[in-house]
């Protein structure tokens, strides 16, 4: 019997610290809390403590998953860890997390560096690993603390990003629900539009870097995240409708047959624009970022978990996931939502 990948459960963790619009409005002249909400769809975000890393949130999310599903730690044979804010440049954060979760030393573990497109790529990798008999039970973790790479004086990104982590359990099953198809895309010409200039081997971190303000009054150093909002907006307008259509064509499915659309939760304004552009009914389109902001690769699993909890995701629902962002990198897939969480 050939086995496929079944997404059995999703759990998450948020840091306790909260940054709300009232605080931001107090810091940035000319912005009111309501204006920030209107332009972003976000009222507050969770922010990690100075000594709190993505891995700490990841371990919390994974412990919840292990405890709620009752899965044996010893049965997890693969750990995939998606992050752009690893604990160290080396060693690989996934290795640290294997140890902290007391997963067996026979478990494979690796990081992959993707931002907002990460969850769809993770599901695609899980499907391939399970179908090729390389893994039976995979822990797929997404974890980021962008607050550590955002300059406090840069409202263009500080108003948007929030910290958080999610853990998904994918198991080999005779009735898989991660069956694809998957469509992907990459355009590295977007390099300069979302990046941390001094963050790797090409340009090392510069301890004495100057704080420079742009025309809009947002200030950052070369060690901080930079996002060219209008170029990134342009990118999503160009690729999202195309990737949605490519996925529907590949799957021989229609837009009407999709029960729920879960896009990367980039910002409320962009999501609303894309929804109208693609003529997706409001009730089928998930917006789940008011209290967590843009959580990068965690945004889709956060939204799925929330929809499952609130009953918006019903058993057997056909869900379209569309993820896009830094790279540029993008991907989309269809998922048949399972009827029950695994309790092993």
């Amino acid at each position: 019997m050939s086995m496929g990948a079944y997404l059995a459960a999703i759990r998450s963790a948020l840091p306790e610290g909260i940054l709300d619009n009232e605080q931001l409005a107090g810091e940035f002249e000319g912005w009111s809390a309501e204006k920030i909400y209107t332009k972003t769809g976000i009222r507050s975000r969770h922010i990690a403590r100075a000594d709190e890393c993505g891995s700490d949130l990841a371990v919390k999310a994974a412990e919840r998953l292990i405890s709620d599903t009752g899965i044996e730690r010893s049965s997890i044979d693969y750990l995939l860890y998606c992050t752009q804010t690893p604990d160290y440049q080396m060693p690989t954060t996934a290795c640290l997390v294997q140890h902290r979760l007391r997963l067996p030393t026979s478990c494979a573990a690796l990081d992959y560096n993707l931002g907002c497109s990460g969850y769809v790529y993770g599901l695609g990798l899980c499907k391939a690993l399970i179908e090729s008999n390389q893994a039976n039970r995979i822990l797929l973790i997404t974890a980021d603390t962008y607050s550590k790479i955002v300059n406090p004086a840069d409202k263009s990104v500080r108003t948007i990003f929030g910290d958080g982590a999610t853990a998904s359990l994918l198991v080999a099953s005779e009735q898989p629900n991660v069956t694809g198809p998957f469509v992907y895309g990459t355009d590295g010409s977007g390099e300069a539009n979302i990046l941390i200039p001094a963050s790797g081997a090409r340009r090392r971190r510069e301890p004495d870097a100057a704080l420079v303000a742009d025309d809009s009054g947002n200030a950052r150093t070369v060690n901080d995240l930079y996002m060219n909002g209008s170029e990134v907006f342009n990118f999503t307008l160009r690729i999202v409708p195309d990737v949605v259509n490519r996925l529907l064509t590949t799957a021989k499915a229609t837009k009407d047959s999709v029960d729920l659309f879960v896009f990367h939760q980039a910002n409320g304004f962009l999501l609303d624009h894309l929804r109208r552009k693609l003529e997706i009914p409001r009730e089928k389109f998930v917006v789940c970022m008011e209290r967590i902001g843009n959580t990068v690769s965690s945004s889709i699993p956060f939204a799925l978990q929330d929809c499952a909890r609130t009953g918006k995701l019903r058993s057997n629902a056909l869900v379209m996931l569309v993820a896009f962002g830094v790279g540029y990198s993008w991907g989309a897939t269809l998922l048949r939502w399972g009827d029950a969480e695994l309790s092993a």
């Binding site: 263009s156 909002g229 342009n234 307008l237 304004f269 624009h273 552009k277």
Partner: protein, 83 residues
């Protein structure tokens, strides 16, 4: 397929003013963007969204960065307006 609203330059300007939450008539074609109240990175995103929604034109951020006046901005989508 979405059908786009046929729109004159002046109508588009008024729509942009509403998006930017500035007074009607605040935007004038010969005005320098650098001296235009409310013109910032968020406003350029609003412009891209409006051009896409109303005119079906996808403008790039780099094109916008080249524009110096409000009129230059409209010229980026100039062929989409009704005379």
């Amino acid at each position: 397929m979405v059908s786009y609203i046929v729109m004159a330059r002046s109508e588009f300007l008024r729509a942009l003013e509403r998006q930017m939450e500035v007074a009607e008539g605040a935007l004038k074609e010969d005005q320098l963007l650098s001296q235009t109240e409310g013109w910032d990175s968020m406003a350029s995103v609003l412009f891209i969204a409006l051009a896409d929604e109303k005119l079906g034109a996808i403008v790039s951020g780099n094109q916008i960065a080249q524009a110096s006046t409000v009129g230059d901005l409209l010229n980026l989508v100039g062929d989409r307006f009704t005379p």
